[in-house]
Symmetry: C2
Subunit: 696 residues, 2 copies
Amino acid sequence: MNQQQLLSPMLSPQSIAIIGASGDVGKISYKPIANLKDVGYKGEVYLVNPKYEEIAGYRCYKDIESLPQSIDLALISVRASKVKNILDQLFKQKVKSVVTFSSGFTEIGEEGAILERELTKFSEQTGIPICGPNSLGLFNFKERAIVSFSSLKYGQYDPVAFITQSGALGTLTYTMAKENGLGFQYFVSSGNEASVDFFDYVQYFAEQEEIKVIGGYLEGARDFDKMDAAIEACHQSETPLVLLKVGNSKIGAEAASSHTASMAGNANIYHSYLKQSNVVRVGDEEELIDTLSVFNKTKKPKNNGGTVIVTQSGGAGIVIADQCEVRGISLAELSAHTKGKLKQTLPPFASIKNPVDITAQVNQNPNQVIHAVEILLNDNLVQSVILYLQMTDGPFLPMIPKLAQIAMETEKIFILCWAGIEQTTRDKIIDESSICWIPTPTRAADALANVLEYYRAINDSQTVKKRLTLNGHQLSPISGKKNEWESKQLLKKYGVDVPKALKINNLEELASIPLKFPLVMKALSSEIAHKSDYGLVKLKIKSLEEAEQAYREIFKNAEKSNLLHDIEGIIIEEMAPEGIEVIIGAVQDELFGPTIMFGLGGIFIEVLKDVTFLPAPFTEREALKMIQSIKSFSILDGARTKEKYDIKELANALVNISIFCNVHKDYIEELDINPLIVHKEGFGVTAVDAFIVGKK
Amino acid sequence: MNQQQLLSPMLSPQSIAIIGASGDVGKISYKPIANLKDVGYKGEVYLVNPKYEEIAGYRCYKDIESLPQSIDLALISVRASKVKNILDQLFKQKVKSVVTFSSGFTEIGEEGAILERELTKFSEQTGIPICGPNSLGLFNFKERAIVSFSSLKYGQYDPVAFITQSGALGTLTYTMAKENGLGFQYFVSSGNEASVDFFDYVQYFAEQEEIKVIGGYLEGARDFDKMDAAIEACHQSETPLVLLKVGNSKIGAEAASSHTASMAGNANIYHSYLKQSNVVRVGDEEELIDTLSVFNKTKKPKNNGGTVIVTQSGGAGIVIADQCEVRGISLAELSAHTKGKLKQTLPPFASIKNPVDITAQVNQNPNQVIHAVEILLNDNLVQSVILYLQMTDGPFLPMIPKLAQIAMETEKIFILCWAGIEQTTRDKIIDESSICWIPTPTRAADALANVLEYYRAINDSQTVKKRLTLNGHQLSPISGKKNEWESKQLLKKYGVDVPKALKINNLEELASIPLKFPLVMKALSSEIAHKSDYGLVKLKIKSLEEAEQAYREIFKNAEKSNLLHDIEGIIIEEMAPEGIEVIIGAVQDELFGPTIMFGLGGIFIEVLKDVTFLPAPFTEREALKMIQSIKSFSILDGARTKEKYDIKELANALVNISIFCNVHKDYIEELDINPLIVHKEGFGVTAVDAFIVGKK
């Protein structure tokens, strides 16, 4: 049974049983009954409590055994220790899914974790999906299935699904969204995720055709492959995924793990991965709501123009223009034709350039604003319009239906930023569900930027992301520390270019080495970390004599530092041509698995920490995006030398290293190629030093 | 007469005359009368309009001549062309200050600018300060002097002064602040600033003892010395200045100049200058209001501890902790003693570490929260507490007076972030004027960070900033382009170290040069930009023979490139020791005057644009702050080489260059020292290339 079939009874239940339903209106176990009743759930409701015949008009059964078979969803809100027993009874009744509010599981420590593992095992064995425990519940507003004890305000809803790992922040987001005219069709508080996790829900909603955008509050994913598949499903269906991902700070991550007992993961890897996967990342609840609103209430623009700001306040126009520049939104240059039409329409002192300052005079004739917006939305060079109005509740109130019509009909992005208004005006705007309303200028620019960045990335990549599948790669069991020679030999097998080199064991072998000068000679050792500090590396060797001298000096230096016993041989290799030094490393992350790190060498990595990460393995296209995502990319692109470096071969090396690391994920603990030299375009790359540590 | 005496009649008027007052309640010139009446202004009100005997109970005079003499403030709202004439009449009546709403001045173009210059001249000649034109007016709520046509909601006010260059954004901020429980005692819409400008008001408020914090919306300053003096006055009185400075983008700056006709100035110089002057810079209106709230409703903490987050939602705790880390707020480690007390107080499953997760169980016993906050505020290691509550309007409502008492009594910063509440709860919190309330978790962390950063900077600098005064420096009139030799000679006079060097005119002079090898030889030219590209620079000259060869080669190369006629001689100098290359430049900014730019050379300036600016002249302390403010400072501090570089001598060089540029501000158009080499600590600096362009 696939995800859709499994989760459908939970998220679109046709029948709901409430176990331990209470008839006492003061009790928390009465609330779900009241919620279903108040909202008018259309499906069947079965209550279980031997003390009642019926509650709120719903029939009450004396025990689970008496319930009809194959109910879609059962709701449990009993003490933690009793949940397992009830689950077993529900299984006998062929219940299809479960939601449990019960707390006292992993969030309270080991004692609760033992109970929670029983739930996980139950779900795995029976195939019955569980939402929770320690969940606020969920709802599907279209079906009027409110499976929650929360007293949220229900009403108009939009084709938006929302999943939260924090019940409290989830309900806060829900409430704030409602105040801004955005209703969630689905809301899921995923709780401790003993069975169904955050990205299971994402995957489900990505495949629901009617869902236009998915939002979420995420502390941490539990399974990389699931996360990756769900994000891939979002790509496939072109459903934007907007996440408030928290737990990025050290303390935040600690708190996150105490909170939902989920792995907060490595913040830097999350950052790189989500960015490269075109997941829209927001900074707070307001930005989350605003961004969901723009995705929901506007269409993907078909043209490629810029943004126009139409403003009643010069100041607000500047604030929006500033933020547009910060966020990389290009403002449209108005055509002479458009300017001419605006001049005819707007008051004499209006500023007919972008930002278009319509001045306070339009209060006398608000129709001028409507016309100006229409003129601009009809300009081919315009992709989006932000209209800023302020506190002019009186004169502009009658314009709301016209603005709603414009919003409904346009193929472009139209955002109304009407600030400082009365509650009644706000209510009128919200009633017109086609209007995308954002209350302040900076927030409007930020939300628009998020949406435009998403569409830009979508348009960039003709094909959707495909994870690399690996076949027939040779596996070399690796253990312990590998010296430079061994490490390079391993990389070479996977197509990573290393210098032409030989391992020699005595001075005599030097005479016949088939290598071209200049050469480099190094002591091989899996133990000595900074070989050049001890004089164990000799560069620019130009003749056989110099080579012999270098050989002797290396051994002399080793002796001096008492390191002779650590030397495993001598490597002599052709010196690589010049280029840009980069560092490629690999780490094993608990969530992401083998993950490749990339950055420029020297100060870029040491001082500026300008690095990026990507879980292995990946394709060339992803590697190119990875390379382009570092701040110092322009150096590889020739910003300093006016010559480009071989980015294509660098990408190729990254792909090969990612494959190598993935194939060997059970063997490699660490990998460090420092440096890999990227030569001028057409001249490839060379891994001049490498170091691999196998798992114990 | 000083600023205080001049502006006092305008900002604390005891008598107000309204010229052209209308009795027609529909007209805009009736509004100020209604405002004064409604709020109950205690001073004298005189109206001028021959058509009425009295309006709204105030006596109406037939003309200005009939008014009593020496009225504090006259309000003008007539057509632009008539303003000057009225001003002349007011001068005869010894009116002390003027506010004018009238538009049709600089904002409409040259025609209006001519009229505005008349106002400026009038004010300069008579000493009568004018607020406006094109202003929404101003108010002093303590005096109930509402000199504005705006229909703002008046009520409780706080010791906060607010100045805005945008009437619209100013009123929006006022309205949003009111909704968040913050009232402005003073509000000034500075309009076109024909006479009194933004920083005149800042200076006035900085000197008002009762004003605790000043906020403002700034598009651009008009006069650097005034701005600098006003910011200095804020330092002196320890009055934080919180600015939403806009016009940072290219388009924003253009719009800013069309809007209030003020110079938007150079965004990068503003950024560096405001940061180094400890002006609190905010990103949007919400952050402006929140930051003003924290400054206003809390005291400067006396201890040096960390921040504690107390939260009813684990998720919100993580969001706040994340933002604290981003903004550099250190979270307090709780002492065993405090932990013990919290354990006794809070419910069993509460998380007794920072963030302190009090769980939803406290809804049953909200007193536990009060106790927990008290325990934490009593801990010496705690400097500030953010309490996060959510939507628990019911159980926590009775706690509001207790929270207000805690807020009033504590010597620490206490912020209540109570999210998702009803309007009635919000009103109750706002009524308790001691509570600093912020509606969302990220906003709470941002506002706290702004305030803590301000106090940290205050504590850093024992003495307040003092502008350098210049005496007895030698002036060298400079014109045209100066070649390297001439430029270095000028810098040397000002104490900037340059290599020991000679200018030679023929090959024979080489034989007797008193310089130590290795040497550098360069062709001198004020015309040739990239000398080394043409082979006109020879490095590492180790002997007289090499020097002679270099000399010949330079001339040969010059001939080859047809540049002989541009060569003004040959400079030969001792090669400077190694070190870090930095660039020091100077620009002439229309607002800031001569301004020094500083950054590390190479990729840091070319690719990463990691530079900072400071108006000249400045002190060593300021130069050190400037050096420390660049992102790559850690390289000078030895991050790469583990050795420190001579930062003290670098600061000294910057000071000397700043003095040189200031003394020569009427002569220098551009200055570029690229590079100046900073040697190891104790070994000073060397300006190895320099280029000065004099003004035409």
